[in-house]
Symmetry: C2
Subunit: 540 residues, 2 copies
């Protein structure tokens, strides 16, 4: 019996236990992900390219190859699925961002971030919507007023994932926290906007509806935050109480992963903003829970969350790249390619104008409230903020699919054109703006990066700075902000410097109530096998 | 505007971006998984209960609650999906088993493991099939001879996951490697058997078909192993070559995870045994790749793989527990409950007889080849091996669904009874046999555990013993087997002690060719930030 027969036989027998088509597409994606990681690593020294653009290009190339091998029949293996994106890929990315964010920097700029994310998004949405009504109405590309408003909401959604890729937290901490924080708040605003458009009667806007709208936003923002913080605190409490004395790394890591994911799912279940929830859950977990687990669990969680987020990010770009070449979508516009290019250009222009219309005025407003010049947002920084938030990504794609298709397909030419225009804007902004952001930051803020005053005190409670905290002397890393500022009377502090006062009282409350209850740096009892006792002995 | 209106509004707006039903079922599963972990931790000191039984019970209770709240309409949230099980849950479990297995112990018993897994499974399959034909034919519960043979294949499939839960690698290393290794080889046999039943004309068995069958098994076994080893070596090579000098933990961990998963997917794609492939990939990765990465990556991968496997295991048991109460399956047999109990008892008896029929004779054969008494499998150990492999789990369930239903549903009463009988056998064997295994091991092998001669030299290249290797002196952990045995002439060694000779030559080959090429302990060039240079300085 020769080998040929055996091979043939093996091919004959059916794998009875799984769907073969899904196995082959998952295999392809895994192989492409490996390729992206290796190529991204090889191009790491290159200033222009980053992993997301590599993934986007590899996705496009793969799409072309599939298109050619299937002879134009199909170019996509997995249809773009909102579920896949919102339930599986987005949560690890946003959670990791919260987990690794420099908390001091984030909370110090909290007011500015909220201003940008909420008011800014509304301004951007209004400009894009009205611009679309004026500029696109002649082409009769859309029929319904709701479609124009939805277009505004779709293109007002900044892509947090792209921001994470092009801005570096260590080099430009202020910009990173502003642009990324804005992206997170922006999501809550977008969800409210998008739901409002699909549910409210927006043709007759009056005071009541505006008030309702505002109330809805406030409810969404507060409820999402509270849910995230509560889940994070629960995880800290459970791990602190249960695991004292007999730690198990696998259980700790499992609990942290599952509870973080649960916070996102619960938020979605209660129609809140999962992104806001999981972001705050990440912040709370890095502040409390992370300090309650063993040394091994700390290293594992820090790197596992980063790895999962990394894989999810590359997957999204690969996916968007491959999906962009789906032949069905382009069939409708093949007879009028000029129209599609025109609409894409108009939308791209509106995105740029809409963003400019809030970044510069709101930065001016924000600067008015700051006393010291080094706290103000300089003009060059404003340009960078404007530029870095221009990218539109998978969130815009998902919203566009939701508005203009049913189950991924559309038969209306007007809707098909909106889908292809969205894809064009996403591809163009991600690749071109993405490519140019790193050089732009380098050009506009040449030697600011590592010297920026606001980042001079590294946040010692963040997992990212664990290396520094461990290598530095224990007392050196224990320097805390409140001790370094002169202490005026509390009331005067509150009036002259409200942010600092809030921070000061928060520290007091944290040390007196929160940390003894939920654990945290310096408030965890002796754990066998943990280096809190002797930093020089490592238990692994 | 009061809060009630806001809440109502928030409930009215539809989450437009994801399927709400799937979000709620994933939320429920995440919450239950958290519950299982916490309860499992609280019951850790208990000798009888383990996490899988806790998960099974919680799953059953949840099933009852859902059954009552939906008023008997439905008890399952997710229908048992073979895809979910074979594509997502099984790979991390088996990979982790290979990654953490004591390699010396495993390869020293390789012949016995293969004997048990291949010949033993065939014996068990024959006995169960013929027993089913004789004992069940009167009840006319099955019509086709293929169904009887499929029943044999279904109940000959040992559950590796259960074994991992009840046997402890550190306490009973010989038993663990025998029973678990058997389970891995058993899978390849089961796949061949099951495919053969569905494709070959087994009514007319003759020499040619038997030879074909044997050839098919050999092809499957070798091809799967080669694929797993090749993927593992590729990962080691890529990481060694690319990452020299500038390591990135996230990329390393991502590559290891993705390539391990890819090996499983490729095996499934080429109709091989994914379980065998990913198992050997895990072994190779722990021997080579794991030594090429940074200290942080080592800790992260070790714990991440263990955590993912842990979550997947609990998920499976939770899932089986919840699925068992699906009301549709039990509707058919409600008029003849006695018959279902009878069939379940017969099948359970056949499983016990079928396993006894090969464990004791094959152990006798295996003992004949061993020279030293401490290498032989004692009778008490044989009883434990027999007992520990009696559990039937998710693999049996998946095969039964595949044979007796189409897309999870069946209209034939005979098939429905086979499904419910399989569930009964799985639930009974997992809970009762699972509950009794720990006490049985304690009773039969009371003080053997930590003293067993074969485990006296801990495998220093396994991730599990990393702690020991790091805490012990470098030279202490470098003791290698070949130096401790007297060296007779190579030819004499090969004749008198073939296993040791193979091991000796493998070590020579490994040191001379493999490790310089693929890396591995002691053969990795200096990596900045890696503790191989100075074990006392840690880079994190």
């Amino acid at each position: 019996m020769d080998l040929g027969v055996i091979t043939e036989m093996a091919n004959q027998v059916t794998v009875s236990t799984s769907d073969h088509a899904s196995v082959s597409s998952i295999s392809l994606f895994s192989a492409l992900l490996c390729g992206c990681i290796v190529i991204g690593h090889l191009l790491e020294e290159n200033r222009w390219v980053n992993e997301s653009i590599t993934a986007l290009l590899i996705g496009l190339v793969t799409g072309v190859v599939i298109l050619l091998t299937t002879k134009g029949k199909s170019s996509h293996i997995l249809v773009f699925s909102e579920d896949l994106f919102f339930i599986y890929l987005l949560p690890p990315i946003i959670f990791n961002a919260g987990f690794q964010v420099k908390k001091k920097q984030f909370f110090r700029n909290f007011m500015t971030i909220t201003l940008f994310g909420a008011v800014g998004t509304l301004i951007s949405f209004s400009i894009i919507s009205f611009g679309a009504i004026i500029l696109l109405k002649n082409g009769r590309s859309l029929t319904d007023i709701g479609d124009y408003l939805a277009t505004g909401a779709i293109f007002a959604a900044t892509d947090s994932v792209c921001t994470l890729q092009v801005l570096n937290q260590d080099e430009t901490p202020l910009l990173y926290s502003l642009v990324f924080g804005e992206g997170v708040v922006n999501d809550a605003t977008s969800v409210v906007l998008f739901n409002a458009i699909q549910n409210f009667d927006l043709v007759h806007i009056d005071g009541t509806i505006a008030l309702k709208f505002f109330g809805n936003f406030l409810y969404l923002f507060l409820a999402s935050t509270v849910l995230g913080v509560a889940t994070g605190l629960l995880s800290a409490f459970v791990i602190k109480k249960l695991y004292f004395g007999r730690h198990s790394t696998d259980r700790e890591v499992s609990l942290m992963m599952l509870m973080a994911y649960l916070s996102y799912l619960l938020a979605e279940l209660f129609y809140l903003s999962g992104i806001l929830t999981v972001f705050f859950c990440g912040i709370v977990m890095s502040h409390y829970t992370w300090h309650n687990v063993t040394e091994s669990s700390r290293i594992t969680t820090k790197h596992t969350f980063a790895t999962l987020s990394f894989i999810a990010e590359i997957f999204i770009f690969l996916y968007v790249g491959m999906d962009a070449l789906d032949i069905d979508k382009w069939r409708f516009i093949s007879d009028s390619p000029g129209k599609s290019i025109g609409i894409s250009s108009i939308l791209l222009g509106l995105v740029m104008v809409g963003r400019a219309a809030f970044v510069f005025p709101l930065s001016f407003l924000s600067n008015l409230s700051k006393k010291f010049s080094h706290e103000k947002i300089e003009f060059k920084q404003q340009v960078t903020i404007w530029w870095a938030g221009l990218m539109r990504g998978a969130v815009s794609m998902a919203l566009a699919y939701n508005q203009f298709t049913s189950a991924g397909h559309t038969e209306l030419p007007a809707n098909a054109i909106m889908i292809t225009s969205t894809i064009t804007v996403v591809l163009f902004s991600t690749s071109v703006f993405g490519l140019l952001t790193k050089p732009l930051v380098f050009l506009l803020l040449p030697h600011k990066g590592l010297k920026q005053q606001m980042s001079s005190i590294d946040d010692p409670t963040s997992p990212k700075s664990f290396l520094a905290a461990l290598l530095g002397s224990v007392h050196g890393s224990e320097i805390e902000e409140p001790t370094s500022i002169p202490r005026p009377s509390s009331l005067r502090l509150l009036v002259t410097s409200p942010t600092r006062a809030v921070h000061y009282y928060w520290r007091k409350f944290d040390d007196a109530v929160m940390r003894p209850m939920f654990g945290g740096r310096g408030f965890v009892p002796f754990i066998p096998g943990s280096p809190t006792e002797e930093p020089s002995v490592h238990p692994f």
